[in-house]
């Protein structure tokens, strides 16, 4: 029987400042508290997250979030066994603030520190919420990432494929911006799509004619831009209805691509003959109900269990970081006080990079 641990998690890699406390073992952990301070209002006027503004906010909010998370859990730092912090990938200014705050806490208390890959946090969330067994198939789909991974253990991720350009979350944000809808784009495009006709506009489904699990979303975004410009030129503006139809058509195109590629990924995953075949979707875009619904159908058709974390654990949060940290501590891992913040940090480093290069390194 493994010993239970109480782990404090800290997350600041994008535009949410978060802290949480998780208690338990890798096989059975519970969230004691989870604080997420959104910066949505801060970035609203700029049509997207401004890294410097985000970093400024994180630096002055993190310690407050930690205090709130401890208070909500009814604990003090003396009750905590370890500190987990997102040390990448993400907007480096925010990640750095989180890492330095965590190092300060660790140095002050003598508690062990562990740097957690933000993507591993998302990827391991189905273990926290649904106690999924390894290996499971994961679609990690967020603002910055989109990839199919076979999660073999808390530290072993095999990438089956992913986006070759934009992530869907990025496409949702850009489409919202193009159509004058508020940020973040995911929820606002989804809401508009509910009142729109998904067949209203013909939009491309890139790479559906190809084998494999790779995807592309940047052309889709450009197609929406062209449609918008045509409508604006013809009518001098966009009607509410055409905006809704554009959103619905865009969302359906994303759904179709994700569904088709999920089917292919499931076949590859089943080749491993997992004892309890299961698929999970994680990341901010997993909060989209249309995408969740369609992926669940695909899983049912393919005879594989489907799971998706509750909405609050799809978007960025620190509970997933605390849980991932807990599993790493359980494996005997920890970081020292020279821990680096990394802007990029692919989960599967065994394969050749498919996206990003240069000074910052591979993105995926």
């Amino acid at each position: 029987m493994r010993a239970s641990m109480t782990v404090l998690g800290i997350e600041s890699s994008c535009d949410d400042t978060a802290a949480a406390v998780v208690f338990g073992t890798p096989d059975q952990a519970t969230i004691q508290s989870s604080i997420v301070e959104s910066q949505t209002d801060l970035h609203a006027a700029f049509g997207g997250v401004v890294p410097e503004l985000a970093a400024r906010a994180h630096a002055e909010k993190l310690d407050h979030c930690v205090e709130l998370a401890l208070r909500d859990a009814g604990l003090t730092l003396a009750d905590v066994d370890g500190i987990a912090v997102t040390s990448g990938p993400g907007l480096i200014g925010g990640v750095l603030s989180g890492v330095m705050c965590a190092k300060g806490l660790s140095a002050a208390t003598g508690l062990p520190l562990i740097g957690v890959n933000h993507l591993a946090g998302h990827a391991l969330t189905p273990r926290l919420t649904d106690a999924l067994h390894f290996p499971y198939l994961l679609l990690l789909v967020s603002g910055g990432h989109c990839q199919f991974l076979i999660v073999k253990s808390a530290t072993d991720f095999r990438r089956l494929g992913g986006t070759i350009d934009d992530a869907p979350g990025e496409a949702f944000d850009k489409v919202a911006k193009l159509l004058g809808l508020p940020q973040p784009g995911g929820p606002s495009v989804e809401a508009a799509a509910r009142n729109g006709n998904p067949k209203g506009f013909a939009l491309p489904r890139p790479l559906l004619d190809r084998d494999g699990c790779d995807m592309s979303f940047s052309g889709l975004k450009t197609a929406v831009l062209r449609m918008r410009d045509q409508l604006v030129e013809a009518d001098g503006g966009l009607t509410e209805q055409s905006r809704n139809d554009l959103c619905a058509s865009f969302q359906e195109a994303v759904c179709d691509v994700l569904a088709a590629k999920t089917s292919i990924a499931i076949k590859a995953y089943k080749g491993l003959s997992p004892a309890t075949p299961s698929f999970a979707v994680a990341g901010g875009v997993a909060a989209n109900q249309a995408i969740r619904g369609l992926l669940e159908t695909v899983c049912t058709e393919n005879g594989i269990a489907f799971s998706a974390p509750p909405l609050a654990l799809c978007t960025d949060n620190a509970a997933m970081i605390a849980y991932a940290g807990l599993t790493l501590f359980d494996l005997g891992r920890s970081s020292d006080l020279s821990l680096s913040a990394r802007p990029r940090w692919p989960l599967d480093q065994s394969q050749a990079p498919m996206l990003g290069s240069g000074k910052k390194g591979a993105k995926a």
Partner: protein, 213 residues
């Protein structure tokens, strides 16, 4: 015992003071890598004096102005340490620290690059509040008799004000601790970076389409 540190420019520096006396001091020039080095350096400074974090009564941290990321590295670490130790962290700007203990009117400056400086005046009627200024507009500032200019680009600044350029009375980390010590008797706000310059953020260039009703 006060532990002071700063990473607001191309350095990583720390000092440990007790009763105004320096127990240990370190200063390393580095263009990058402060995030990795800082906590290790702090441990070295404490060890050199045979002290531990438990001996501290306060943290003093440099709040800039300077490199935005560098300022946040120290301020975030200071806030984490303060929370973990249950002691105050006191933010002190480079501008205040440099001017500390220099008699008479002082204009404290920090190089803001591209022929700009951050500056703040101390000890005279028209002393300018913290601000960023182009070097070629310095002549518009007040120049009281006996003005001393301290800090980055102080030669260029002092020439225009007919003032004297001199070095700071103490190394930066030491000065941060000394200034913080003067504030210990009263509750202090949590340290905040002194950016002076707003974030580069512009509204989207592509305007949203008109929505027809």
């Amino acid at each position: 015992m006060i532990l002071a540190f700063d990473t607001s420019a191309a350095h990583c520096t720390a000092a440990l003071l007790s009763g105004g006396k320096v127990l240990a001091h370190a200063h390393e020039d580095m263009a990058k890598g402060q995030a990795e080095r800082l906590m290790v350096l702090l441990q070295e400074v404490l060890s050199e004096a045979g002290a531990t974090y438990a001996d501290l009564t306060a943290i003093a941290v440099g709040t800039g102005p300077g490199n935005f990321t560098g300022i946040r590295i120290s301020v975030s670490a200071a806030r984490g340490l303060a929370l973990g130790l249950g002691i105050p962290a006191i933010g002190v700007s480079t501008l205040e620290a440099q001017a500390f203990d220099t008699p008479g009117p002082v204009l404290s400056t920090v190089d803001a690059r591209r022929d700009q400086v951050y500056l703040q005046g101390f000890g005279y009627p028209d002393a300018p509040p913290p601000q960023q200024r182009a070097l070629d507009t310095i002549a518009g500032l007040a120049s009281p008799p006996g003005l001393t200019v301290i800090g980055g680009r102080s030669d260029a600044v002092s020439r225009q004000l007919d003032a004297r350029a001199t070095a700071s009375a103490y190394p930066l980390a030491e000065a941060l601790a000394l200034v913080a010590a003067t504030r210990l008797s009263e509750p202090q706000p949590r340290p905040k970076p002194l950016y002076i310059r707003p974030a580069d953020a512009a509204p989207p260039r592509d305007p949203a389409p008109v929505i027809l009703s």
